[in-house]
């Protein structure tokens, strides 16, 4: 058994691969990332712990569990490594180009509305979600089956899983959408108006 101590690293071994000159005596300290050790003295300077968000694959929670873990908004998506799978395209009537938004980073519908307003530099999407009569916009989404649905009818998690793309419609363009008319109609007849 090798003894640590006085002169460098004395490892007593039975098998050596050594070719002459093959293993260079390393006078350089091994320096890699943030750890350096002092071989001769056998002591270790306290290594600086890497900042949490720089360490890939730590803590060792397997990627399947991270992807399916419940607290979607609490798990750091950057750590998941595989990249968020919740980016959807957002189009807005009158805008020259589309944007993309990561649904998994939104905490809920109001958060989504706020983020969309920031993305397109407009106001009024929040009102659209709350179903205000005079709202300038309507927010709709295309679901997995290819149908266009009004945003806000189903629980947030269900929406996140089925939403494939979003569209912010200006009210003036929306006259032909039957669902919007139906919803407005229903609003008048339902007791609870959410």
């Amino acid at each position: 058994m090798g003894k640590r101590g006085a002169v460098g690293l004395e490892i007593m071994t039975e098998l050596r691969l050594g070719l002459p000159g093959a293993v260079k005596p390393s006078s350089n300290k091994r320096v890699f990332s943030e750890i350096s050790t002092t071989e001769e003295k056998g002591s270790t300077e306290e290594p600086k712990a890497p900042a949490k968000n720089q360490v890939v694959g730590w803590p060792p929670v397997c990627s399947y569990r991270q992807r399916n873990s419940f607290n979607k908004e609490k798990v750091d998506r950057a750590e998941a490594g595989a990249g968020s799978k919740a980016y959807v395209k957002v189009s807005m009537d009158g805008a020259l180009y589309l944007r993309k938004i990561d649904l998994s980073m939104q905490k809920g519908y109001s958060d989504l509305a706020f983020s969309l307003e920031k993305l397109f530099g407009c106001h009024g999407i929040g009102e659209a979600l709350n179903g205000g009569e005079g709202a300038e916009y309507k927010l709709i989404y295309e679901d997995k089956d290819g149908d266009w649905m009004l945003v806000g009818d189903v629980p947030w998690e269900m929406f996140m899983e089925s939403c494939r793309r979003l569209r912010i419609m200006k009210r003036s363009e929306a006259k032909d959408f039957a669902i919007l008319q139906t919803r407005d109609f229903l609003k008048g007849t339902l007791k609870d108006d959410n």
Partner: protein
């Protein structure tokens, strides 16, 4: 000896020998035993798909019914193995399809599987019965549809933790109406909705169905209908465990669950609403396995549930259970063999729950049969580890993850060397160990000295010098798999223990200090090892030879270097002799 047993007699005797190790030993006795044995081996396990070529397997064993293969190294689970590294099953399936028309079972872990391979499986094996794809990827529900449509005798379809491209849930409808042999179905990893009516009809017509693990999209109000069609179920994974249940829906569910008198294992519980948990209470006393690791409910609810599970042998749970819940576990579940506590917020520096080392200590005290532990926590002490070790000398698997790297004993601020040293010293049959916390070379000295039955060791952010690695490689007689990340281990220990690597399945080292020069030397000198350098910074030749490689994967093989590597992986071989500069 002039006479020997007739072949048929030997074959009959060999048919009682199941374990691979025993079979391998039998085949080494003499040439005729080798011949007889190879014709009657029915099951082959290849722990590293690159250790042997498919052609060599089918050449040696002409009549195999069950094949199990593993592909990527374990650290692939934590995204440490770059995409595209390898683990392709396709060449295996092609060869197996040609050689074994009577193949019945294929089990794959961490492999890349394509729809083409699934279609080939579906077409090639007339008596195909078992398909297990564990942590696999690369295929879609179209491949599953082919299996469903063609494998008339399929008993088991288990997709555990695989990443499946979900085209739609319609694949399930491809099971023909005449198909009735399903015994086990695990689709918990699938994202999209399966057709509920197809699922109900399938469940109704398969009287031998014992294990059903649903995916999240199966709503709670459909669960009762499924259960009424399969009261013989022994294992159930629920779908989403929340809904707006009307009271008659809820009592319907309670009745349906209670009707499943054989249920021993429960899992699922996504989105669980605590109010609906009492539906499973009548089952608790019979449960042996409970996976609540996706259930985000608080300690009090968890405790209420668990304290009724007096027969529980396996518990997987989130750290929401806290120390108090683990104390209840220790008091109520005296038959517990395996405990896994997962972190609810792994990337949160601050703790969010009151779970400490004390919870694990309580369980180690109260559960005398506890032998397998996976525990994530934020603090640990040498004293606690010593107590655990003394309480549980029968421990065989001990994986501790202290979330902060290099975290010392929180009481004494010392390294946790003596604590883990106590574990290996007291637990003489320890087979698997994962270390964490602040650790010096000392812990490796203990491991090398005492952990003689240790087969798998996982190390991260530990050690001071090559001596640490040397202790492990020279001392652990039973070591098969060693995986290391972010440790100051370099060339010396690796080169000095090169021969040891041929006695192991594999060694993984990433973010360590092994130089490219040493890798080349190792590859040159050890032809029966594949020394793979994985480096996404570009060819190592563009850097000095003394420069450490990013990642290193060394495994023994009789197949030579592989040819399906991406452009960031290089195998060091005889041609990699050191060139004079």
């Amino acid at each position: 000896m002039a006479y020997s047993f007739p072949e048929e007699v030997l074959e009959h005797v060999f048919s009682f020998i199941g374990s691979d190790r025993d079979r391998n030993a039998v085949s080494l006795v003499c040439k005729s035993w080798y011949e007889i044995e190879r014709w009657c081996r029915r099951r082959v396990f290849v722990g590293n798909c690159y250790a042997v070529s498919p052609a060599a397997v089918v050449r040696r064993f002409p009549d195999v019914r069950s094949v199990e293969l593993k592909g990527k190294p374990h650290f692939a689970d934590f995204n440490l193995v770059p995409e595209g590294w390898g683990g392709y099953v396709s060449p295996w399936i092609t060869t197996l399809a040609r050689a074994y028309p009577w193949l019945e079972e294929i089990r794959l872990k961490r492999m890349v599987v394509t729809d083409e391979s699934l279609e080939l499986i579906a077409r090639s094996f007339k008596n195909f019965k078992v398909l297990v794809l564990s942590s696999c990827e690369g295929f879609s529900t179209d491949g599953l549809a082919a299996v469903a449509a063609n494998c008339r005798n399929l008993r088991e379809l288990d997709l555990r933790e695989s990443e499946v491209e979900d085209m739609s849930g319609h694949w399930l409808s491809h099971f023909p109406d005449s198909y009735t042999s399903l015994v086990s179905l695990n689709i918990s990893c699938l994202g999209s909705e399966v057709s509920f009516s197809a699922l109900e009809r399938l469940v109704s017509r398969c009287p031998d169905l014992r294990s059903l693990r649903l995916n999240r999209t199966v709503p709670l109000d459909r669960l009762a209908n499924l259960l009424r069609r399969a009261p013989q179920l022994a294992e159930l994974g629920t779908g989403v465990y929340s809904a707006e249940l009307r009271s008659d829906d809820f009592s319907n569910l309670v009745g349906a669950l209670a009707g499943c008198r054989e249920l021993r294992s429960l899992s699922g519980f996504w989105d669980v609403v605590p109010a609906y948990l009492p539906a499973v209470y009548p089952l608790c006393s019979g449960l042996t396995s409970l996976n609540l690791s996706y259930a985000t409910i608080q300690s009090s609810e968890l405790t209420k549930l668990i304290s009724q599970c007096h027969s529980l042998q396996r518990l997987w749970v989130l750290d929401y259970i806290e120390d108090s819940g683990l104390e209840a576990l220790a008091a109520c579940c005296k038959d517990l063999r395996e405990l896994r506590v997962f972190p609810s917020e792994p990337f949160n520096r601050e703790g969010n729950v009151s779970l400490t080392e004390q919870g694990l200590v309580s369980v180690s005290e109260g559960c005398s049969k506890l032998q397998s532990v996976l525990y994530f926590c934020r603090q640990m002490s040498n004293a606690a580890l010593l107590t655990i070790a003394r309480n549980r000398p029968n421990m065989t698997r001990f994986r501790l993850c202290i979330i902060e790297p290099r975290c010392p004993d929180y009481i004494t601020h010392e390294p946790l060397d003596t604590g883990f040293g106590a574990i290996v010293q007291h637990c003489k049959d320890l087979q698997r160990l994962s270390l964490s916390g602040l650790l010096t070379d000392r812990v490796f000295e203990y491991i090398g000295t005492y952990a003689k039955k240790l087969e798998m060791l996982s190390v991260a952010f530990a050690g001071d010098s090559d001596l640490g690695l040397h202790h492990v490689l020279s001392g652990c007689d039973s070591l098969r798999k060693l995986e290391i990340r972010d440790c100051p281990f370099g060339d010396k220990a690796l080169l000095a223990n090169a021969a040891k690597l041929e006695t192991m399945r594999s060694l993984w080292m990433s973010s360590c200090s092994v130089s490219f020069g040493a890798c080349k030397l190792l590859g040159q000198k050890m032809p029966r090892l594949n020394v793979e350098v994985i480096d996404e910074r570009g060819h190592p030749d563009s850097r000095p030879e003394s420069c450490p490689v990013e990642k290193l994967y060394i495994y023994r093989t009789v197949a030579g270097p592989r040819f399906d590597m991406p452009d960031f992986v290089w195998t060091m071989d005889e041609d990699s002799a050191l060139r004079p500069s």
